[in-house]
Symmetry: C3
Subunit: 137 residues, 3 copies
């Protein structure tokens, strides 16, 4: 059986928002029945991205988001006329794709790690594409 692509739909509520999708990714891994391999995550957007970092204390991702805003202020002089260049730049500093290992049917996230969809130009409807590749048949 071919493991085909799955999609996680995320509706963001704020302009900048980090949405924890860890439990949804974990569920897809279980549902796939794969026992050993890799879980590939991909964001098909240009003003959103993927981040894996601490989800125990929500102030960690708030600090990450605030610092990104200080490094890349919304209102600098950018060429792109749509006015959302800061969102494109912040997304570029995070990751578009991530690969997480799967073992014994479980996603090998670290104990403090969560998977976040980073919204930098919301609110919007976003997608995260997920594909599981088994180690071997």
């Amino acid at each position: 059986m071919i493991e085909s692509r799955m999609t996680i739909e995320v509706v963001t509520a704020g302009h900048t928002e980090f949405v924890d999708i860890s439990s949804r990714v974990r569920r897809l891994v279980v549902e796939s029945g794969i026992s050993d391999g890799i879980c590939c995550l991909y964001v098909p957007h240009t003003t959103a991205a993927l981040l894996i970092n601490e989800n125990a204390d929500p102030s960690v991702v708030q600090d990450i988001a605030s610092k990104l805003e200080r490094i890349v202020p919304w209102n600098e002089r950018y060429l792109h006329l749509e006015g959302n260049s800061a969102a494109h730049i912040k997304a570029s500093l995070m990751q578009t794709s991530q690969v997480i290992l799967v073992e014994s049917g479980k996603l090998l996230l670290g104990i403090w790690q969560g998977i976040f969809l980073c919204e930098f130009d919301g609110p919007r409807q976003r997608k995260v594409l997920v594909k599981l590749i088994p180690s071997q048949t």
Copy 2:
């Protein structure tokens, strides 16, 4: 049949330049005959990197490149005697490897997404290594 590694050769013309290689990656996916799996991209350089972001309006990547230059100016005091530390640092802030999903023989790029080789110390000859891994045989 083993899907072996393919190489995209890029000749950059400027010192900093983001070269859109999306159509070349798409062609390799078609030529490979793979219908379902992942496309792994890798840059074997230390002053170049991979970025997936908007390729509709070229001012987006110009804004990304300019902002990186403001964050990491060429003429700060660096230890590395070759004088191109800024290029190494900018490459570190982008991605060395990317994984994009393939479905029904097509690369699942988002509608606004393009794949860029980011040159930070050109002009030079660069390579992007590409390998397709099928979901299952």
Copy 3:
């Protein structure tokens, strides 16, 4: 035979430290007996990350580490009460996962490239998870 997950243990000595693990990753690839595929690397930590960049001149990663410290100073005002937000932010700017191609039993690193575990809140014991996925059986 299923290629199962391997682990590289790293003990860091300093607060910020980039540890070259290239030769250990190369050895795992050889030991696995895989001839063609990809090598997936994953850091299960939130204040450490993976970087692939120059390992010939050690001043390159010193410049990268120093610049990250200037961009993300340890003593700014952050919300996270543990006091190590800067380490979380720096890790977010590097990569959590990397995928490197394997061909003829060899890791396709560029000639100047090394793989680094980036420690941003050491000294600590760290792990890098490694999984090899063959192109096809």
